[in-house]
Amino acid sequence: MQTATDPVERHTITVLVDNEAGVLARVVGLFSGRGYNIESLTVAEVDPMARTSRITIVTSGTPHVIEQIEAQLSRVVPVHRVTNWTSAKGGIEREMALIKVAGTGDKRMEALRMADAFRARAVDTTHTSFVFEITGAPGKIDSFIDLMRPLGLVDVSRTGVAAISRGPEAM
């Protein structure tokens, strides 16, 4: 059914699950077992009283594969709900990253100016390095990292995407 010409799209999918042992392994195993991609993965308990966790996955595939991913996730037993933010268009996506840049002189000043423009905050400073904290859509973080590369980029740590819907409604 897939053809080579079908475009590969990137989608952000959130899965609300019961926080029981093995549920993350079951979700992740579904991706590896069926040959789907995971570009990033974010997991945390979001309601200790209701014992629910939220798993947000950025994945890529043809529209047919994305449809299958949603259908396969929906039938995992401890899953409450599956939401595709890319299809729904009503979602806000944010990611946080810690980015270490080492250098001196002009490059160091340039890094600081760029960080200011991106509203990144220096959370650790030495004479020869900065650690910047930056929050934003994944594309913004990609751009910032690209800009830091010639300025002495040393290390990157990204949280993966968290997503939520706009407006007053829950997921």
Partner: protein, 597 residues
Amino acid sequence: MDKDNLITERHNDSGAITLTGAEMVIRALKDQGVTHIFGYPGGAVLPIYDALFAAEGITHVLVRHEQGATHAAEGYARSTGKPGVVLVTSGPGATNAVTGIADALMDSIPLVVITGQVPTHLIGTDAFQECDTVGITRPCTKQNWLVKDVNDLSRTLHEAFQIATTGRPGPVVVDIPKDIQFKKGAYVTPASVKHRTYRPKTDPDLSSIVKAVEMMAEAKRPIFYTGGGIINAGPEAAKALRELAALTGFPVTSTLMGLGAFPASSPQWLGMLGMHGTWEANNAMHDCDLMICLGARFDDRVTGRIDAFSPGSKKIHLDIDASQINKTVRVDLGIVGDAAKGIKEMVHFWKTQKKKADQAALKDWWAQIDQWRAKKSLSFKNSSTLIKPQYAVDRLYELTKGRKTFITTEVGQHQMWAAQRFKFEEPNRWMTSGGLGTMGYGLPAAVGVQVAHPDALVIDIAGEASVQMTMQEMSTAIQYNLPIKIFILNNQYMGMVRQWQEILHGGRYSHSYSEALPDFVKMAEAFGCLGLRAETPAELDGKIMEMIDSKLPVLFDCRVDQAENCYPMIPSGAAHNEMLLGPDDGGEVSEAGKMLV
């Protein structure tokens, strides 16, 4: 006083029953209506076996290998509609059960597998007979659990039964550490358990049913393509299918897993479809203008080359599992729901909306189908000196019809010949490993079927290679007086492997010859059952009757033509209308086709 005792007392105050974990297992099985379990004891399940020792109303069938327990439970489940229950120990007990669990997942068979585990304080220490059972079985179960608190045990067991048997059925595993089996806790009854997330959708969307019925009334060349979902939905689904077929007059074909849902004696029956399906079924699938898929999943063995699959048809797909719709074949109308409910609604709306099939078009369609039928694609050249495997299956059918007969199979040529030639009139009479294709399934499955139906005639149509994989279960059959009949089509080859090597690999029969076969008759005697051998067509009927009349389990060594291939056949990578009818039909397999399995 430790924490666990506090919890027990609190539950006692509220009137709940206090039991040990092991006692809870037995109690939960009884509350779930379980009468038979298949298992094998070991260190990590000893407390449960101890509770079983005193238990009344549950019969334990001791197998000889845990794989046998899972297949026996599958046979039991498939032939009764009830869940099959398995009890095995930790480590190798669990890993040996994995093949049967994976088999049950592929064929949607409800199994509840209870495994012992090392005590909780030893988990993760590489203890004796420890393995990560929930990790190993996660991808081959519908759901699984490691129970670390005895107060969660009874709820988990009840949820396990609910999940295994409802929605799309499947296997579940409950892993119980040994210390949890000893600990006391509160037992809850099934009625008090409501799962937090699991809500299978069984009621079909009625507007979609109405649309389906409209499409059916407009169809010129319709076909019902039915599958194992109809068997799983229970006898009501098969009954509704028969009514819908009678009302519409449409032709019916079925997958391997769906055989028996529609009677083979019906003039509307086209036979099985797919790789070894009939000429008429596959051509009708290819040329139809409306395909009504009921409880089947467009398996690659059914569709053949996917981009050439039924190119001109509109497709309706009724399935209880939403993820099956549009999985491999794009359909025009997908309906999520239980097959029995969905088909009943189709019958209801067909009647109340006073729908009529297009009789003129249907007449032409049947005329075309009759032309395909005239090819007699299942015919074969019989021999007066050699037993042809097709002839053996035909005689077995003729000599057993009219009896309450259940057929199981192993996997390979004999399985396809049985599927093509044995005529099933009722659901739940045909047990075979379709999705996983597990050699060694049929013999233990026959054990499970015979346990459930002590008075029935249960025959495993086997191959000499497959049957050696689980032969040890003959000992189980003897122990429990289960007179299963193992009818071995012995061609001294892994026949389907040899057939593919002939077609795809230039006749280089690499390691597919059954060298050093045992003498099956002497083997039968060693087990304490009856051994029979037939070598000529002339003696076949007499020997089959001897097998049927015996009160013992029977190993029947039916020596058949070694060179016979299974036709018709859609070669790998070919379309439904590119079937090979026999050895002289030529047909080249494309390079792409050779890559497929």
